[in-house]
Symmetry: C2
Subunit: 157 residues, 2 copies
């Protein structure tokens, strides 16, 4: 299977990956959350080649995850900002950070911690059920067919 066939599958994981499924894209978003906005800043911070950066940013803009906004007219200069869709990616990033902190940080502890302004505490993100607010565990969850499911269901669930 080629990658461009992925977003046609009937699976939200696959469809998400068709957009953000390469590592550079995820790192670009990470830095966008840390307030990076300009081409040269992304390039310097990430060490990505300019060629790939241009193509990834264009893709993110095309798909609505970021928007390209002129911040001056002469000469024309642009910056890249997260859209609402892009800001919403934050929950995935938090989950990714939590996983890395738990399993990969080792004895040194996590490289970054997070402060929740609303309550003033350092926190970990916890994924809970929208209905009962209990933390979710794999074994308590049963996937069922949704309205958008297309066959072949068993092949690409």
């Amino acid at each position: 299977m080629k990658w461009r066939e992925l977003d046609g599958t009937s699976c939200s994981v696959a469809r998400s990956l068709a957009i953000v499924g390469d590592r550079w894209t995820i790192l670009i978003l990470r830095n966008a959350f840390l307030r990076t906005r300009r081409f040269d800043d992304f390039q310097a911070q990430l060490g990505i080649t300019r060629h790939l950066l241009a193509s990834r940013l264009a893709k993110l803009v095309k798909l609505g995850v970021m928007s390209k906004v002129a911040y001056q007219e002469r000469p024309p200069r642009y910056e890249y900002r997260l859209t609402e869709m892009g800001r919403d990616w934050y929950s995935v990033q938090l989950a990714l950070v939590a996983w890395g902190d738990k399993w990969l940080a080792g004895a040194a502890g996590p490289p970054l911690e997070f402060l929740h302004q609303k309550c003033g505490h350092k926190f970990r993100p916890v994924t809970v059920c929208s209905e009962c607010r209990e933390p979710l565990d794999t074994r308590d969850i049963t996937p069922i067919a949704g309205p958008g499911l297309r066959p072949p269901a068993a092949v690409t669930p």
Copy 2:
């Protein structure tokens, strides 16, 4: 920057990506959560080439995300199961599914829905603060240096 340099960086996103940062790996884990365990089943369900599947499974085993267990002796046959580290990946997958469902499912609705056995309801995963249990919003969160932070902090946060 080459990919093998990534896991040396002082960032949990980058370190996580060094393990699960390609699309096939994430799809392998997706199917593992749907109870796939054997080489040929992964291959048939995903349409991945056998070559890549072998290399990705080997990597997941080496890094402790999955384990390779013999399920018969003669002839020797193996299956791949999620370890605790692998099962813990589920929160990331849930976040990914939720993002895809929200932004990519379109009018048809999500392809899969999830039932929470504990409360009996269909649910969405919600990411909340471990301290105050309020849902997290990007703008309420401030990253601060953690114990595992190594310079250059500004370059690869």
